[in-house]
Symmetry: C2
DNA sequence: CGCGTCCTTGAGAGTTGTCAACTCCAGTGG
DNA sequence: CCACTGGAGTTGACAACTCTCAAGGACGCG
């Protein structure tokens, strides 16, 4: 049952510090429906495998992913790990942590983030009912996602979990049937409550069945979506 | 892997309909921090095993539990079930369901609820930033709880899950070391991602180890909290 | 080109699920 | 009042899915 994943300690000397640029506006455009936040944000970059914040840190900020991929995770005392969610460009992280962070956040790839002071966001929400509503609705969406994931973790088989995962990533990505997996297999395993080996075996089995193609470890083509949906347990 | 739980179809003739009393104020006092909602609520009662709402129904209302216990659950096509949460007196349910309910809600015991029209709550939240903030914070709390439960489902052993469950219920209940389990074993199993048999076996094992006493199936005494915390995986 | 990390596959072990039998208890009806 | 009944709870024997441990292969980076 032990599942130790040691953080990769290799760090690029250039990027090992968190480079804070005081540009107050991101060049990538408005923050989705949260454009009002733009002026109060700070731009940050993190290198691959760098920690963005740690479980137990004061939750003074929200972050929005500008580019790259982030994971949030929780650890048990003996090192067993669970990944709560993957965050891609445009996703907000840390919104639910009120006093201190309940999860740690780590950069899976090199990452660019916008950082917003929680106090400032709260202040704006007190003034702007529309912003407050959008925050509520984002939180509601997260709860609904969590319910789906709990069903997956509590009741789905390994094959169903992996198939559901591929469909989820495909839905969140740009291409309908071609997906990019920036995270290693053990991250997928910790997200799905499995081991690396089991994830690999299921992927191989799906490949042999012709449901997917795996040109390289980071790229997967969905060849037969309906078969995946069948394996994934049409909810 | 099949885990069919057929709803108990026995219903008291007297209580089979949902009795709507048009009293607009509950006699049990203010709605926690949501006292402002009181005047817009309606009182309802449901009999044991009655459905309060179903997955897919329009989510037109919030509910607050006045007395009794409620479960919210999600089903897979073949009947496998997951219980997302148990709701006791004072708990709100359905807040996260925006368009339609993502889970169904069922009465575990006879239940009294207050029902609030979602539209009215939204309208009040637009006017009252304090209410909006309390709703946000309740949602954030639910997300944090869900993260803890996902860690349990994804990475804890059967013994750890049951021990964590006992501690959770004890913390949410009135007594520190005496807990009341209104739900049957298969509800606990579906909450923890286990089977009834495994839940029973772990409880028996904890009883033999002297960590708990089980005077009857619905009542459990925590005799050695620190041992439970150890088994439950501290943190 | 060599090293390290990640990925993949195999063999065997272990935890939990499945199936089955029995007990317990509450509610029911004689 | 008590036997009957059916669902829930408990326990045992066995099966199976997933994990563990191990080894080899692929790929990227220096």
């Amino acid at each position: 049952m032990l599942n130790l994943h040691f953080a990769n300690t290799r760090k690029d000397a250039l990027a090992s510090a968190c480079n804070i640029n005081l540009h107050s506006v991101t060049p990538t455009g408005p923050t989705g429906e949260f454009g009002a936040l733009e002026p109060v944000g700070t731009r940050l970059t993190f290198a691959r495998d760098e920690e963005i914040y740690s479980e137990g840190d004061d939750a003074k900020h929200w972050h929005k992913v500008v580019s790259g991929t982030v994971r949030t995770c929780k650890l048990l005392a003996d090192g067993r790990r669970h990944i709560a969610r993957f965050f891609f460009a445009g996703d907000f992280l840390g919104i639910e942590d009120v006093g201190e962070h309940a999860l740690s956040a780590e950069a899976i790839t090199d990452v660019v983030l916008m950082r917003y002071a929680r106090a400032a966001v709260e202040r704006m929400a007190e003034q702007d009912p529309g912003l407050a509503r959008r925050v509520r609705e984002m939180a509601f969406k997260r709860i609904a996602d969590a319910h789906g994931h709990m069903l997956l973790l509590g009741r789905k088989t390994a094959a169903e979990r992996v198939a559901s995962f591929l469909l989820e990533i495909a839905d969140r990505g740009d291409h309908e049937s071609q997906i990019d997996l920036p995270m290693p297999r053990y991250d997928i395993a910790d997200y799905l409550g499995l081991t690396t080996e089991t994830v690999c075996r299921v992927l191989s089995s799906l490949r042999r069945r012709g449901a997917i193609a795996v040109p390289n470890a980071q790229r997967i083509h969905l060849l037969n979506r309906s078969e995946l949906e069948e394996v994934g347990g049409i909810h």
